[in-house]
Symmetry: C2
Subunit: 273 residues, 2 copies
């Protein structure tokens, strides 16, 4: 998917919501456990209920890998279901991978070609030759971890290299990578005030922003500091939406929560005009 | 496996060799492709031929993930084969994972419990709460990326934070993590002279060292600067061993290459006495 197609979808749906499919057998409604593939059953129900309110889905790969072959198979069914039934949706493999050249190409093929995701999250620690293999794929997007929303972000990401925080160094160095036009960045919403600084380095890039709501970030602040003329934001919510209820009505409950966020986003988009 | 059991194995075999199982269908002998599970057939033959010359095997997970469900199944068969037939071998899931708390626990369960690996490689960028969930597992080891052997290592790892290179900051900060006694570190052998500095920060930790041979590092230098009284080194070789031949005799050829390295290691171990 091209960036323009993502932008068009945002305008059409008046939403820049990404829903995290962190599907956990211990949290989904118990009655689904009798299904042949409870993970896929849950995902399908959530997707069918929310697809017109969001522009992206983001399965966190850890949740699938934890269930081995069964999880991997459920992931494959989920992405195929999305690509077949809702081809306009932007899909994100939240894998946080990062390895040396040749091996990165393996991961890129697995997620971009075999599974046909539109994008993947990548850790920056190993530098240029661990990121560029992902950037070589046309109309695929690499979402680099810059400033994450967890406590541990302060261990290294905010430490200063010659007066510049590491996460800013990651942003600026990465803009020199070959294929940098395919880069997006993960920026935690718990640090909305940092977005102003971030926009000085990457004025137009899309930012994937976790942590609005549950982790304390404010949608209004994120939009004020982070939104571009082409929106440039994907706001992720996972548990707040998909686990809104563990009863029979779980999909409707998820839809209501997604609708709340979409309506708040619509207001922010109108502010832009 | 306890660290002491690993040390005992090193003394017994007079080897601190780790063999990387980066199994690639495009590189294994063509006649194996007719097997029902060529990846496992290849791994089994390599393991049977080399298990008394090495102390560890390290499948790079990217190679398995690239083949989807089929790859995942081959990985499971490989680790089960190792644990059943050669339980004294130290196993490393080269996954380079790293995610937030709860999600890290998922990955830890997948690799430590479900697959029963002894250790896993982890990226440090997300800090404390992305690493500690792995450290909570008894007799399991977390191998943190410190200084990698690729070009991109110079993008961030060697940059200075208040005069101290990032990789050294990773080493020293990580020693304060809860469960730090379960930490080991990846340190590329292409930078053997750095090992002296590294040993000032982590004097006793095991280091997993890629890049001896193919990537230009010298075994002698690595031992001179990095070896501890309990060895403290695992030297990895992947392609140089497993792809020594693509003919019928591939397992014997791998054995010869492993034997060369083991004999060189024996000399280094004798130097220690």
């Amino acid at each position: 998917m091209t960036t323009q197609e993502l932008v068009d979808q945002i305008h059409k749906k008046q939403s820049f919501l990404c829903i995290g499919l962190d599907t956990d057998l211990e949290k989904i409604p118990a009655f689904l456990l009798e299904d042949e593939d409870p993970i896929f059953s849950f995902n399908k129900a959530i997707i069918d209920a929310t697809h017109d309110l969001c522009v992206a889905y983001k399965p966190n790969i850890a949740f699938y890998e934890a269930y081995g072959v069964q999880g991997w198979s459920a992931l494959r069914k989920t992405i195929k279901y999305l690509n077949t039934n809702y081809p306009d949706i932007f899909t994100i493999a939240d894998a946080k991978r990062g390895d040396i050249g040749n091996t990165s190409t393996r991961y890129a093929k697995a997620f971009f070609e075999d599974l046909n995701f539109d994008s993947i999250t990548i850790a920056p620690y190993m530098g240029r030759d661990s990121v560029e293999p992902f950037l070589a794929f046309k109309d695929k997007h690499t979402i680099l971890l810059a400033l994450t929303s967890n406590e541990g972000a302060f261990d290294f990401q905010t430490k200063k290299i010659d007066g510049v925080e590491l996460y800013k160094e990651v942003l600026s160095v990465s803009t020199t990578y070959k294929g940098a036009e395919n880069l997006m960045y993960v920026v935690g919403a718990t640090k909305a005030e940092y977005l102003k600084e971030i926009r000085k380095i990457v004025p137009n890039s899309f930012l994937l922003v976790p942590g609005v709501g549950a982790q304390g970030g404010s949608l209004k602040d994120v939009c004020e500091y982070g939104m571009t003329k082409d929106i440039g934001l994907l706001i992720n919510s996972s548990r707040g939406i998909i686990y809104a209820s563990d009863q029979e009505n779980f999909a409707d409950a998820a839809k209501s929560k997604a609708k709340e966020l979409q309506e708040a986003m619509k207001i922010e988009l109108e502010r832009l005009n």
